[in-house]
């Protein structure tokens, strides 16, 4: 895709306001993108600290460091914070920075709503985290908050948890509406749907998923609220309700949610592989169709999380086959990435290293997913560390590696400075080794039968747990190192050129580095 830019700079030259109020009142998509990214980084470190507590307790069998009640709170908050505070806001931040620049739009379509959707997030997480200091402690029922654990048996702080989930949901929904309206209405002339960069496509589909399932999550927590405070019995068997219904509603949201956390990653990785292979992406339109079919299929596979609740055989079979069907479009994408690299003149700068690790390790996570999709096998694997290994492989070297790749890839455009390539590579290798040492052994202990979500375990699982904890601390420390690299890059460094990467294509590389506060005041021409 090539573009002709008439003037790089805007007609009105005003820059950002000064001081703190700049960030409070800003409606600029770049400012808001930055806010989202920093917020998610903070949440990533807080959620990571909780993971360190979990792994420290599991270093050896027996109870050493924390009380079991507190352990349960850590498990719950770690999951919620990483998903709703880490991965999702990071992708929204990237969308804010990149979508307008990639489609040649001056800003997001609804800038004020954009400001609101970011600024309610800190409140949601403040409420969630403050529940740690409430009577009865923080929520302790796991990120999946199954009823009746989260209703009849929940600590009093569950009401605050419900409130914070409502706020997070509102924020995501507003963000999604903004992305869709921007993409549908503000593309530069000549940019047809099938000429859109893949990151934009991936976010368009993700936003529709969000619109469809975040309200269902809101419905689920509202029903919980009513069961707890208003005497209804949606999930209470004594009153004629059904706890299994909760699981259906939750996973109707929950499975599309896992694709919300991976589709934008697909977009990012496609751009990076294309750039560093110095070739055009192989199979652009099949990439789009693959993402669309993954998104549609994600609505009919939810019960693979519930194979063991006692469903009729026909349902078990349906959900098994439907789940396995998703592997087909996913396979198409992996094939296309490899085909793009094939015979390319590849260089391995840090973003490309993360992208390659993504392809390999995400695929590995997909394979363990396929194993879990085999219904009879899942009766053995369900709720063991094998499931933990599966979803951490798709989420950490999947979603999170793609976010790190994106940061290294676009930070020269954002800050105007190149990051230190030596440090970036070091960060990559530490993370790569750390993630595998942490999560690969969890496959073994899972297959051997260690159940998830317990603070203690039987002696035969001791060795691999110790290995896993060592890996976790290595991974954790390398992310503090990442923070250092990011700050160092923002503060200074080698100046970046406008194109930054030799093979980079796309409108965002046609503006100056760092990207001016206002870009594309007059739309570029795309042909």
């Amino acid at each position: 895709m090539s573009a002709v830019i008439e003037n790089h700079h805007d007609d009105h030259h005003h820059g950002p306001a000064k001081g703190l109020t700049r960030w409070l009142y800003t409606t600029n998509h770049k400012d808001i993108g930055t806010l989202y990214l920093w917020f998610s980084f903070a949440m990533f470190l807080i959620g990571g600290a909780m993971a360190m507590i979990i792994r420290a307790e599991l270093f050896q069998p027996g109870m050493q460091i924390v009380e079991p009640e507190f352990y349960n709170q850590m498990i719950t908050l770690h999951g919620l914070i990483m998903i709703f505070g880490g991965v999702m806001p990071a992708f929204v931040g990237l969308a804010n920075w990149l979508v307008p620049m990639m489609i040649g739009a001056p800003d997001m379509a609804l800038p004020r709503m954009n400001n609101l959707s970011f600024w309610i997030l800190p409140f949601a997480f403040f409420i969630l985290l403050s529940s740690l200091f409430m009577e009865g402690g923080a929520p302790n029922f796991g990120w999946t908050f199954y009823a009746p654990l989260s209703t009849t048996y929940a600590p009093p702080s569950v009401t605050f948890f419900i409130f914070s989930v409502h706020i997070m949901g509102a924020s995501s929904i507003m963000g999604a509406i903004n992305v869709i309206v921007t993409i549908m209405n503000m593309r530069a002339p000549g940019m047809d749907l099938m000429k859109m960069p893949l990151f934009v496509w991936s976010w368009l589909i993700t936003a529709y998923l969000l619109i469809a399932v975040m309200p269902v999550l809101a419905g689920a927590v509202t029903m919980m609220l009513m069961d707890i405070h208003f005497g209804t019995s949606f999930f209470n068997a004594a009153g004629g309700g059904d706890p299994v219904l909760f699981q259906h509603i939750f996973w109707f949201f929950g499975h599309p949610e896992v694709y919300i956390m991976i589709l934008p990653a697909f977009g990012i990785v496609s751009h990076i592989i294309e750039t560093f292979s110095r070739k055009q992406l192989f199979g652009y339109s099949s990439m789009v169709w693959a993402m669309l079919s993954i998104a549609i299929l994600s609505f009919v596979v939810w019960a693979h999380h519930m194979f063991t609740v006692g469903m009729p055989l026909a349902a078990e079979l349906f959900f098994m086959w439907a789940t396995m069907l998703i592997a087909v479009p996913t396979g198409v994408k992996v094939f296309n990435w490899i085909a793009t690299m094939f015979r390319g003149s590849i260089t391995f700068e840090t973003p490309m290293l993360f992208a390659c690790a993504f392809v390999v390790l995400f695929t590995l996570g997909g394979f363990s997913g396929l194993m879990l999709a085999i219904t009879p096998a899942d009766f053995q694997y369900h709720d063991t560390y094998f499931v933990v290994a599966h979803f951490h492989y798709v989420l950490v070297p999947g979603a999170i590696f793609s976010i790190m790749a994106a940061v290294y890839y676009w930070i020269p455009k954002w800050s105007g400075n190149m990051y230190d390539e030596r440090l970036g590579k070091l960060h990559f290798w530490l993370s790569f080794i750390g993630v595998n040492v942490t999560f690969f052994p969890q496959h073994f202990i899972g297959l051997a039968g260690m159940p998830r979500r317990y603070p203690d375990y039987a002696l035969q699982f001791a060795d691999w747990n110790m290995v896993s904890t060592v890996g976790a601390f290595l991974f954790g420390i390398s992310q503090v190192f990442f923070l250092f690299i990011v700050i160092k890059t923002v503060m200074g460094g080698k100046k970046a050129t406008d194109q930054v990467w030799e093979g980079a294509r796309g409108l965002e590389w046609t503006v100056a580095s760092p990207a001016p506060y206002h870009t594309f005041g007059t739309p570029p021409k795309v042909d």
Partner: protein, 187 residues
């Protein structure tokens, strides 16, 4: 923002609201689905007793199981643990309950049937689980259930388990119980 943008915002906003209500619609949908397919071990009252008079039947063992919700101190157990029945005929069984506490309490029993594909074939004409039981301190009672197993019960099933869990619902006021009607599906 142009008009096209406003239309999209409206459309998306409506979708959000529709999906929120859809999540609530899942509740009756789920119950209807369970009723039609007879899965999840849920049992529903049959409307017509004449419908199931049959000539030939076969022998099936019905096992009764009782359990107490952990917050329910009453004594609750079946009068007989197993009962030999012939399909297509009505039988009566009873469960014994006693309020062992020193306050008046209200109870609700929730039934479940195993194996799940037998659930659709167990028809209940009367069941104490269709009502609530209020017992004074120390009071005891025999709770009746009148049921039939239809001839269509799959052949490989020789043994049907009818289990009840009893819950303390004293603290639920009558207003709340109105909501309960929706769930116990008395059709």
């Amino acid at each position: 923002m142009n008009n096209k943008g406003k239309t999209s915002v409206k459309f998306l906003g409506m979708t959000v609201i529709a999906m929120f209500f859809f999540s609530f619609a899942l509740v009756p949908l789920y119950n209807v689905f369970c009723e039609v397919t007879g899965i999840n071990g849920k049992v529903f009252q049959s409307e017509n007793s004449q419908e199931y008079t049959a000539e030939v039947g076969r022998d099936v063992a019905v096992q009764f199981i009782s359990s107490n919700n952990e917050r329910m101190p009453w004594v609750f157990k079946p009068s007989n643990e197993v009962m030999g029945v012939v399909t297509g005929k009505y039988y009566n069984a009873t469960f014994y309950v006693k309020n062992t506490t020193n306050k008046t309490m209200t109870a609700q029993a929730v039934p479940s049937i195993a194996p799940s594909n037998a659930a659709a074939h167990l028809k209940k004409l009367e069941c104490f689980c269709f009502e609530q039981q209020e017992l004074a301190p120390g009071e005891e009672a025999l709770l009746p259930v009148k049921f039939l197993i239809s001839n269509e019960l799959p052949n490989q099933i020789k043994n049907v388990i009818l289990s009840y869990t009893i819950f303390d619902i004293t603290d639920y006021n009558q207003e709340n119980l109105a909501h309960l009607e929706m769930h116990t599906e008395k059709n």
